[in-house]
């Protein structure tokens, strides 16, 4: 091969590698993007049925019920307009509390949101931004 051809080959291989990497990244991004919905949007039927998504809002006061196994828990997430019951099995984060903001990720099964992850961050003033937005959109006061 002449030097010119080698250069060309190197360039072509690099571009091909970059293209493959870009394709990989974008498809993974598409597949793993998790959308956020407020309880009102879920109630209106906007949320996907087949795909995992996040809901956020406030844990309704007096709504937390534990099962006899001591691990499964059910509670209601509300944006003060609509409320969605959530089920979760496992240990809740330290700052999960009634009347505080929460974000849950999972799937909708019938009218029940089955969460595989519950987030509440480590700061008593902290409201997960999604939860604050849901409350604000529904006309409730954030915090």
């Amino acid at each position: 091969m002449t030097r010119r051809q080698k250069r060309f080959l190197l360039l072509a291989v690099s571009l091909l590698a970059l293209g493959a990497a870009a394709a990989l990244v974008l498809s993974a991004f598409q597949k793993n993007m998790v959308f956020f919905y407020s309880p009102a949007q879920v109630a209106a039927g906007d949320a996907p049925r087949q795909r995992s998504f996040r809901i956020g809002g406030m844990v309704q006061k007096g709504s937390v019920r534990r099962d006899a196994d001591g691990l499964s828990v059910q509670f209601i997430v509300t944006d003060l307009a609509r409320a969605i019951p959530v089920r979760y099995k496992g240990i809740l984060p330290d700052l999960f509390r009634e009347g505080k903001g929460v974000v849950a990720q999972g799937r909708l099964e019938g009218g029940l949101f089955v969460a595989d992850e519950v987030l509440a961050k480590h700061d008593e003033n902290y409201m997960p931004p999604e939860a604050a937005k849901a409350l604000a959109d529904a006309g409730g006061g954030a915090k």
């Binding site: 080959l9 690099s14 990497a21 990244v25 793993n32 956020f36 001591g70 809740l92 330290d94 931004p129």
Partner: protein
């Protein structure tokens, strides 16, 4: 009084930074020695006044001076002294002061270490760092002064977030900032080279040890953060791909690319423009990381708008630094000239691939970190991309890096052939393949974990082979070992460390398991082969918290192998609960136990986790950092060489790279 002195020291420092950032630059431009001369003294004085003001802030924390707003917000008289001191960087204002303090340390180090450089080069480098200091000092003084008074003074402080009350908080931020800010030296060298129009092998040799030490500090900082999250967050994860972690990981990835590209520039004079661009990029990402974490934009993009002064300043500063450097680059880079040519199969090509893949990975992380923020800021909806995205992207991009990395040191610079690779390397490849597959099959691992193990053994074996061949024949063992330069040991340590790390990740990811249970005192639960007995639950209070402490015995058959004492703490001042996990560490597995909440029937929620080979992750990363430091302190960087030497002469130097 102390507070006012602190502010005053910062103002003086700002004045000095303005002098340092302008006069020597003009001097280097006009070739006036009397303007270049003040660079070093100004740098020392700047460092002195910043250190003074940082010391005064620490004093305010030590003396519980709650008439200072920042102290009142981040400390409490009940807090032990060492946490009060660490509280100095527990919030926005103080951590910016820590940033500038670390910059002062690097400035002093460069002022001291640059005595071997031509005055003009040293002046430019110090001046660029001075300009960076101007930006940060102005930001602190005009928008985030930690010495601001609170009237009337608070009776007691609001306390430090309980999560931050840990030895990790004392060590992690300074280490991380040593890394972030250390890249400002590489950046300053790059900008100085663009300004001076001189970018040769000598330049790369000056810049390399600084870049290496910054990178090694950043490695340690990231390690410390991850290690801390593992035991302190209480849920056993060691990397979450959250935006704060990504903010420190992106400069690390680019920094890694920069190290390897610098090696090519030093040894072969090639990749010049590219190296400069990487240095600019590494520091830009460090700045971006600092501001992402410190501006509050992560918890809410709207926090930005609630304090528009800070937000605008940050955006403006980023635009000036990054934009200015890039404009300078496009203007001056064509004048730098190309480097040596190389053929398709050569070490240069392998290092180029390393760079391309590392940058692709950085771009992927950047996309996953910033895109959700961007959508949110534009009001186009809220999305999140979690660990599944990063895992799916990262592994395929890194596997080829690992595969090529082992071969790299065997391939000659400039031109080589496949056939010239030693036959033993092929045997090593085969051995690694068989060993990795055998272990994976024996443990029943998945495809990705198997690939990880195969590549880890490939790197470890190939590196050992390289050392063996290099030590060669003749002379005593002692002599043969001592003959190798520190940079060679550094490369070996980093590469083998990476292999250990990859093996650890593969084994943790595929072998971890957990059991959740609700237990009463006296109950037992089985997890795999082990039995956990809940022996006792008692009250165990600390200086500023109340806690419930459980005692669990771990039995393997009839042998008690560990006693674990997890806690559930409650911090009254901040009204927050905290999970304090108990970990029994080992080389092949960690037993990780954390307490949930008390259940209605008197039982406690318990999460028991079995995490194999976590220790390999930590020791691998430590070896990588050690490699960086070893290479940084290689003797050949400290030899006085003022004139640029022709590249042909440099390649004959003993030394290694990449």
């Amino acid at each position: 009084m102390i507070g006012e002195l602190g502010s005053f020291a910062l103002m003086l420092a700002l004045g000095l930074a303005l002098v340092l950032g302008t006069v020597p630059l003009a001097g280097a431009w006009r070739g006036r020695q009397d303007w270049i001369g003040p660079a070093r003294p100004a740098a020392w004085a700047l460092a002195l006044f910043v250190t003074l003001s940082f010391g005064l802030l620490l004093t305010c924390f030590a003396q519980n001076d709650f008439s200072i707003r920042y102290v009142a917000a981040h400390s409490n008289s009940m807090l032990p002294l060492y946490y009060r001191l660490a509280g100095a960087w527990g919030g926005h204002e103080g951590s910016l002061l820590l940033w500038i303090q670390v910059l002062a340390l690097w400035l002093a180090a460069v002022a001291h270490g640059s005595r071997r450089l031509p005055d003009e080069v040293a002046a430019r480098v110090l001046a660029v760092m001075g300009l960076i200091a101007v930006g940060f000092l102005a930001f602190i003084l005009f928008t985030s002064n930690p010495f601001e008074r609170l009237l009337p003074a608070a009776r007691d402080g609001g306390d430090l977030n309980p999560l931050l009350q840990d030895i990790g908080m004392i060590i992690h931020p300074p280490l991380l900032y040593m890394g972030y800010v250390g890249f400002s030296v590489a950046f300053a060298f790059a900008v100085a080279a663009l300004l001076g129009g001189r970018l040769d092998a000598a330049w790369a040799r000056w810049s390399r040890p600084w870049t290496l030490s910054a990178w090694a500090f950043l490695t340690l900082g990231i390690f410390m953060g991850s290690f801390w999250a593992y035991y302190e967050l209480g849920w056993g994860g060691w990397w979450f791909w959250d935006a704060v972690e990504n903010a420190s990981f992106m400069p690390w990835l680019v920094g890694t690319a920069l190290l390897h590209s610098l090696a090519v520039t030093e040894k072969r004079g090639a990749f010049r423009g590219w190296t400069v661009l990487l240095a600019i990029l590494a520091f830009s990402l460090s700045l971006l990381g600092t501001f992402l974490v410190r501006s509050g934009v992560l918890s809410s993009v709207h926090a930005f708008a609630s304090d528009p002064q800070r937000g605008l300043f940050i955006l403006g500063f980023l635009a000036v630094v990054i934009g200015g450097a890039l404009v300078l680059y496009t203007w001056r880079a064509p004048a730098l000239g190309g480097g040596g040519t190389f053929s398709l199969w050569s070490r240069e090509t392998l290092l180029l691939l390393n760079n391309v893949l590392l940058l692709a990975a950085t771009a992927a992380v950047l996309l996953g970190t910033l895109y959700p923020l961007l959508l949110d800021a534009l009001g186009m909806g809220k999305i999140s991309v979690g660990p599944p995205y990063f895992d799916a992207v990262f592994a395929p991009l890194m596997l080829p890096v690992l595969a090529l990395l082992a071969a790299g040191p065997f391939v000659a610079w400039k031109r080589d052939t496949w056939k010239a690779l030693p036959a033993s390397l092929r045997h090593v490849a085969l051995a690694a393949l068989l060993a990795g597959l055998a272990v994976s099959f024996g443990l029943g691992l998945g495809l990705l974990a198997a690939a990880g193990l195969v590549l880890a053994s490939w790197i470890a074996l190939a590196s050992s082979l390289h050392l063996w061949l290099r030590l060669g024949e003749g002379g005593s063992w002692r002599h043969r070992l001592l003959r190798q330069p520190a940079s060679y040991w550094g490369m070996l340590a980093a590469h083998v460390g990476l292999a250990v790390f990859v093996a650890g990740v593969a084994l943790v990811k595929s072998g971890e398991s957990h059991v959740d249970a609700s237990l009463r005192v006296g109950a037992t639960v089985r997890a795999g082969e082990l039995e956990y007995r809940f022996v006792a639950m008692e009250r165990h209070d600390g200086p500023n918290y109340v806690a419930a402490r459980g005692t669990f015995e771990v039995w393997q058959g009839t042998r008690r192998i560990a006693v674990l004492q997890p806690e559930k703490r409650y911090y009254p001042v901040q009204q927050s609960p905290m999970t304090e996990a108990a970990i029994d560490r080992g080389w092949t597995r960690d037993l990780y136990l954390s307490l949930g909440e008390p259940a209605a029937d008197g039982g406690w929620q318990v999460r028991i986790q079995h995490k194999p080979f976590v220790a390999w992750i930590w020791s691998g990363v430590l070896a990588i950092a050690l490699g960086g430091f070893l290479a940084a302190f290689d003797r050949h960087y400290r030899v006085r060489r003022t004139a640029a030497q022709p590249i042909s002469q440099l390649t004959s130097l003993e030394g290694v790279s990449a």
